[in-house]
């Protein structure tokens, strides 16, 4: 009997430990979830309040988003900026990083330093430097809000560099590119048909991070006198708080949906490979 009881007690200790861990995990999960969700929930609650005492809940604020042409314009601007920044970032960073990895490994530290630098520079300092350049650009080239993509390109570098670096580290870039070149592929084909498909997860990640950063950007646009989504939300907040909050919630949801989609793309790929 004792011989049977001993392992059973061992099992129960293991089970108790597992249960403890489970409780701990759920506690952390719920606390963090509350930290993120309570403000968003409060925003949602506020934006769906009816006008007057005891008025029923209404989605009027969300419905009226489309009735503010300035707001719609700002949303379009921000989406365009997000797309433009992501594409420019990928076109700039991916070939550069591959090239550095293959041919210029001696400067990889320098490139990393430069890419991470924007993280340490406050946006206000960046604007102090960028201000005169944008003034000149507005006078001589274009004053379109889309020129903000240049500034945003700098802003997203640290996040996207990390994502792309992880993607590149996971594949043998040197051998794959040499094999492809030996088979007759030019550099363009090597990047597009061989390297990129094998780091598609990292590319998506980097693109999503830039979208998230650009959609949430306020300081630079505001200080340079451009009206993007966040600037418009702030201005609207003074006139119609409910709509402004509704837009904020909607934009948060948009990024959230993007994130979920991305994780599904990554998961289906992993599942396909696992088969």
């Amino acid at each position: 009997m004792a011989a049977v009881a001993a392992p059973r007690r061992g099992m129960s200790v293991v089970r108790a430990r597992r249960l403890k861990l489970k409780v701990f995990r759920w506690t952390v999960f719920i606390l963090l979830g509350a930290f993120f969700l309570v403000p968003i929930g409060a925003m949602f609650e506020f934006s769906t309040r009816g006008v007057g005492e005891a008025a029923p809940r209404t989605l009027a604020a969300f419905v009226t988003i489309g009735q503010y042409p300035d707001l719609v314009g700002a949303i379009v601007n921000s989406l365009e900026l997000a797309a433009l920044t992501s594409i420019a970032m990928l076109l700039l960073l991916v070939p550069t990083m591959i090239w550095v990895k293959l041919r210029l490994s001696s400067i990889s530290r320098t490139v990393e330093f430069i890419c991470l630098l924007p993280l340490t520079i406050p946006a206000i300092v960046l604007v102090a430097g960028l201000g005169p350049i944008y003034l000149w650009m507005a006078l001589n080239i274009s004053d379109s809000i889309l020129t903000l993509a240049f500034a945003y390109l700098i802003l997203v570098l640290p996040y996207t560099y990390r994502a792309l670096y992880a993607g590149l580290a996971a594949i043998d870039v040197k051998t794959l590119s040499e094999a492809a070149r030996g088979l007759g592929a030019g550099w363009g084909t090597v990047m597009w048909r061989v390297i990129a498909p094998n780091m598609s997860g990292a590319l998506l990640n980097a693109a999503l991070l830039s979208v998230a950063v650009v959609l949430g950007e306020f300081t630079i646009a505001n200080l340079l006198n451009y009206v993007n989504l966040q600037v418009e939300v702030a201005q609207l907040g003074r006139a119609n708080a409910a709509v402004s909050i509704a837009v904020a919630v909607a934009s948060l949801l948009f990024v959230f949906v993007l994130l979920v989609l991305l994780s599904f793309v990554g998961r289906s790929r992993r599942m396909r490979e696992a088969q």
Binding site: I171, D172, T175, L176, E178, A179, A180, R181, G182, L183, G184, A185, G186, T189, V194, P197, N198, E273
Partner: protein
């Protein structure tokens, strides 16, 4: 299938900073020939292969393929098939797509592409694996697909950069023979780079032994093994005993035994004779016997059909390789008498450094 072309490397030189990787290498591969470049790591063999592939540029010298100077041409326009040491299949493509990739780059039509890729997979015995991804195949299978991929473009030259070193021993020897079979069947001129002498000696028409960016000896495997041109080759290819002796005319006297020289004509005097373990035979001896070739067995290593017996002669230890049936009686501590077979030997003078095999 078709005959290969002649490949000439002419006085190739490649330097990385102050390090000379390749110091004036000249090598001609006859059509359809398989030449193995053998040497320790850092001897320049891989550099030679990469220069031929166009993956690196030479500081000076020429690469001539089929009478055409391709020295300045990028890898993508060299018509060279290559199999790498690291697994190099494109992970997002199936075996079939991998093999067809080069054909697609050459704008071969879809129907022809499919047919040729199928043929190539059949050639390497992997017809049933066309739709597998790299991670669904073993290392040996991946390397066979890589070989099919390299040959699918019908290159003028096939380059094999240590394609077997990532595989385990059994797969290695099987794939080695497979590579040779395919190479003979296709008749393609092939440069095979390896640090494994067994591999090189087993499948090459000619073996080139390299050291410090130079070709020390180039010849058929049997010749490289039995008549090494330099002490380095003698030590690197196969095991060698270094026994002090004295040169007298066309012979070297080692502990009372006279051995003929491979290259007679040097000055008389002290030298080190390089004697192969299989040229040493072992006989039992009573405990009280004396003589210059008497010693004690220190260890016996079982290698399968043969065994290697290490004998201490007092001032030197000697390796002898003999059939296991004979070696079994020579356990450690046994007193034995060594007999040196009078095969021609190479000598090293005192200042020749002993190289360490990689």
């Amino acid at each position: 299938m078709r005959s290969g072309v002649e490949v000439r490397l002419e006085d190739l030189r490649r330097q990385y900073g102050s390090v000379v990787a390749l110091d004036g290498l000249s090598l001609t591969l006859a059509s359809g020939e398989l030449v193995a470049l053998l040497g320790p790591s850092g001897c320049g063999k891989t550099t030679a292969l990469r220069l031929l592939a166009g993956l690196e540029e030479a500081n000076s010298g020429r690469v001539v393929v089929d009478g055409e100077d391709v020295t300045g041409r990028p890898a993508s326009r060299r018509d060279v098939g290559m199999v790498f040491q690291a697994y190099s299949l494109f992970p997002h493509m199936t075996a079939w797509q991998n093999v067809a990739f080069g054909l697609q780059m050459r704008k071969v039509g879809a129907a022809e592409r499919k047919k040729r890729a199928g043929e190539m997979l059949e050639l390497v015995g992997l017809s049933g694996f066309a739709n597998r991804y790299a991670h669904q195949m073993s290392g040996g299978q991946q390397q066979r697909v890589a070989l099919a991929r390299a040959l699918a473009i019908r290159p003028k030259v096939l380059l094999l950069d240590e394609p077997l070193s990532a595989l385990d021993a059994k797969v290695r020897s099987r794939l080695r023979d497979e590579i040779r079979r395919v190479q003979l069947e296709v008749g393609i001129t092939t440069l095979f780079v390896t640090h494994d002498q067994e591999e090189a000696l087993a499948i090459a028409d000619r073996v080139g032994v390299m050291q410090a960016g130079r070709l020390e000896q180039l010849g058929p495997p049997t010749l490289v093994y039995s008549r090494p041109a330099t002490p380095f080759v003698a030590s690197f290819v196969g095991l060698t005993n270094r026994l002090p002796g004295t040169v007298r005319g066309n012979e070297v006297e080692v502990r009372g035994t006279r051995l003929p020289l491979v290259q007679p004509g040097g000055a008389d005097g002290p030298a080190v004779a390089l004697v192969r373990p299989e040229a040493v035979t072992v006989a039992s001896e009573g405990p009280s016997a004396a003589g210059p070739l008497l010693g004690t067995v220190i260890a016996t290593a079982f290698l399968g059909a043969t065994s290697r017996v290490t004998v201490d002669l007092g001032d030197v230890t000697v390796l002898a390789q003999l059939p296991t049936s004979e070696a079994s009686s020579f356990t450690a501590g046994t007193r034995v008498r060594l007999v040196l077979r009078p095969d021609p030997v190479l000598i090293a003078r005192e200042n020749d450094a002993a190289p360490s095999p990689a």
